[in-house]
């Protein structure tokens, strides 16, 4: 048997289960005292207003809580309580601006959210005209995002299939790595890339030597942004397909490519759709690339391959920078429309993912 030297934890500490607790009343007391002291300090010295009182009171409450808890319950409980209070206040602190964003968006956005807004463009709308709308921008967003989706989905699926099903060794790993890296390419860089490559180098050949800004160019830039998202999510979904499904198919003599197209892809389809929808939602909200390569425009332009096009996000940006006193209302209405579009896509995607998860 090992010899018993003095145990590292004092036995009497070990044998006592009861501990003194800070009663709820004490917590309330500390809170009230913190507010009182903060208010007194701030208003007596005249160094600030209500916001400062709140901030100071919060600080005093934390200090007071730690001190009181240390004295009554000991250091460990004090630390536990203070961190818990900090974590809760972080939550509240972050909630305030986010609620403010949602509130201003709703209250300002509703003002111009009318028929005219959805059915007219900004063509011939001057600084003194209160009407005008985002029809052209909505058309632009839908076309640009739609084309980008058509480009990205097949490419992204094929890339993910390669990485998961065919890729071996370093090359597949390299692709994986670069897909991840590509996720982090700033949207403005994607825009500049398409500007340098498509607008300035390729399009002059198709456009009598002048650079041709177009909605299609915006689609290309959005594709660069969507591709990694789609590859990543598809990859994850393909990996979730159980191996026995594939093996069962191989064992029947079905070739690999058919197994992939007929067994693996359909099984993973709901998850893949979710990923695609999230990528679309993100692309729909991008402003910078559209600004650089589609140029914006006030009139309705259904042709994505020729002439400037706008988009909802770009419309928000341009109206926000417009000096007209009616512009802010239009900007907010467009912002609300955009957020609604993006959120509907996101929520639908998440619900699909969730239903799918429960289905398994």
């Amino acid at each position: 048997m090992t010899t018993m030297t003095a145990p590292p934890v004092a036995p009497e500490q070990n044998l006592r289960l009861r501990a003194r607790r800070l009663p709820v009343v004490a917590l309330l007391g500390i809170a009230v005292a913190a507010v009182a002291v903060a208010a007194l300090l701030v208003y007596a010295t005249g160094i600030g207003g209500f916001a400062l009182v709140v901030a100071l009171a919060m600080l005093l409450y934390l200090v007071g809580l730690f001190a009181a808890s240390s004295a009554v319950e000991g250091r460990r409980q004090a630390r536990n309580r203070t961190w818990s209070a900090l974590i809760h206040s972080a939550f509240v602190l972050a909630l305030l601006p986010l609620i403010s964003v949602v509130w201003t968006l709703l209250s300002n956005g509703m003002e111009r959210l009318d028929r005219t807004f959805f059915l007219t463009s900004m063509n011939n709308i001057g600084a003194r005209d209160p009407n005008g709308g985002a029809y052209h921008a909505i058309v632009g967003t839908l076309e640009q995002v739609g084309i980008a989706t058509l480009i990205t989905v097949p490419l992204g699926l094929a890339c993910a299939i390669y990485v998961v099903e065919y890729g071996r060794g370093r090359f597949a790993q390299l692709i994986r790595f670069f897909v991840d890296v590509m996720t982090g390419i700033p949207s403005i860089v994607a825009g500049l890339f398409v500007l340098a490559f498509w607008i300035l180098i390729v399009s002059p050949y198709l456009n009598d030597g002048r650079p041709g800004y177009s909605g299609f160019a915006a689609s290309l830039a959005l594709s660069v942004l969507m591709l990694p998202t789609i590859v990543r999510s598809t990859e994850e979904m393909l990996r979730l397909v159980p191996a026995p499904l594939r093996e069962g198919s191989y064992a029947l003599g079905v070739p690999k490519w058919k197994t992939i197209l007929r067994i693996v892809l359909p099984t993973a389809a709901p998850g893949i759709v979710t990923g695609v929808m999230l990528a679309i939602a993100r692309a729909a909200g991008e402003t910078a690339p559209v600004l650089l390569v589609a140029g914006g425009g006030a009139a309705i332009n259904f042709n994505p391959f020729e002439n400037n096009q706008s988009s909802l996000a770009l419309f928000v940006y341009q109206q926000a920078g417009d000096a007209s006193r009616y512009a802010p209302a239009r900007a907010w209405a467009a912002a609300l429309t955009l957020v609604a579009l993006v959120l509907i896509l996101t929520i639908a995607a998440k619900l699909l993912a969730r239903r799918n998860r429960f289905g398994r």
Partner: protein, 376 residues
């Protein structure tokens, strides 16, 4: 009958074109429908005349020589097509670098100032002068400030959602956080410019009155459209992203480790310190780096909230501040040829910075993956 090879052959030719000379966008646009077809249509062609399927003519399981592997079977073509798609990703990254460089070089040649040290941005003059110094400084300053404010709060919220809130509340709010992460940046920019500007201006004035002796809060105004406003808006934007990622990591902490800590008599906070945070650390670092990548590249929200003054200054509250991305959005409208080239050059710098940040983040996350695999 005979459908399948035909279509796949199309898809196959779409593939190589993709890799050749990076006329990728055109190629990709043309092949839009092509790769989709095999997905939808193959069922008709199943088992048709594919010798891969089995010894075709000899009947099921019949004898005879095993069929040879075809050099140009559907399998090869499909494989080739997916590989080409994979290479497109590499191609795009390389193409971004090449085309940005190609368009930046003429402007850099025309530049009469030192690109790396000059603080101003006037590339449209007859004697173009522009430098990345102030912009890069502003980008890094704004992003780091934003992270400094966002990360602790984000971790707090993530912990609240994963370990403090009742499970249902945590799930519901976690969903809400994911939604907020999807709100476009232009909306945050609009909000920051129209509504957040007021409070920030007042706080700035207050800071200036009482802490004006600190250089970062000095100056004589006007205040508001400042680095402080920009980085606060940025912080609010990256908050949901970092929260969402770290919440996921925290939720993945093995229950066994949490229970081990609790069974040793740990308080909740001690349990988080012992089990949750160490386990999640690589994930937190990765999330932070991704947030940083997002912040560095953020364009519109900053173009709408910063004062757009290209000058290296640590002052946080006076009107001013600029970043590479915001400058591109703001200066693009009036840019001439050299001006566009100059903006592209600045974009190249931004691309390099984000590339480095992202690669670092990925390296950390990969390490974590190995680490958790060995630990499990």
């Amino acid at each position: 009958m005979g459908d399948t090879p035909d279509r796949s052959a199309n898809a196959g030719t779409g593939g190589p074109r993709v890799t050749l000379g990076h006329s990728r966008s055109a190629g990709a646009a043309l092949s839009v429908d092509v790769p989709v077809t095999p997905l939808d249509r193959t069922p008709d062609g199943v088992g048709s005349q594919d010798s891969d399927l089995g010894p075709g003519g000899t009947g099921l399981g019949g004898g005879g020589a095993l069929p040879r592997r075809r050099a140009f079977g559907a399998e090869r073509i499909f494989h080739g097509f997916t590989m080409a798609a994979g290479m497109t990703v590499l191609g795009i990254i390389v193409a971004i670098a090449i085309f940005l460089v190609a368009k930046a070089v003429p402007a850099l040649d025309a530049n009469t100032a030192n690109f790396f040290t000059y603080e101003g941005w006037s590339p449209n003059e007859t004697e173009p002068k522009f430098g990345i110094g102030a912009l890069a400084f502003g980008t890094v300053l704004t992003s780091l400030l934003a992270l400094l404010m966002a990360v602790p709060v984000a971790l707090g919220i993530a912990l609240y959602l994963s370990h403090y809130a009742p499970r249902r509340v945590g799930t519901a709010l976690g969903f809400l956080v994911d939604l907020l992460a999807a709100v476009p940046s232009v909306v945050f920019g609009l909000w920051g410019r129209d509504y957040f500007y007021g409070p920030v201006r007042d706080v700035s004035a207050w800071l200036n009155t009482y802490f004006g002796w600190l250089p970062i809060f000095g100056g004589d105004g006007p205040f508001g459209r400042s680095v402080l406003l920009g980085s606060l808006v940025l912080a609010i934007m990256v908050l949901p992203i970092i929260t969402s990622l770290s919440r996921e990591v925290f939720l993945q902490t093995p229950t066994a480790n949490e229970e081990a800590a609790l069974a040793l008599g740990a308080t909740k906070w001690e349990m988080i310190r012992m089990a949750v945070l160490p386990y999640g650390r690589p994930g937190i670092i990765g999330a932070t780096m991704l947030g940083l990548g997002r912040a560095l590249g953020e364009t519109i929200a900053l173009a709408m909230t910063l004062g757009i003054v290209s000058k290296i200054s640590f002052n946080l509250i006076e009107n001013g501040g600029n970043t590479v991305a915001a400058n591109i959005a703001n200066a693009f409208g009036e840019a001439n040829d050299i001006g566009r080239g100059a903006l592209i050059a600045s974009g190249l710098v931004l691309f390099s910075i984000t590339l480095i940040v992202n690669m670092t983040a990925r390296a950390i996350i990969y390490r974590r993956r190995e680490f958790t695999e060995t630990a499990a």
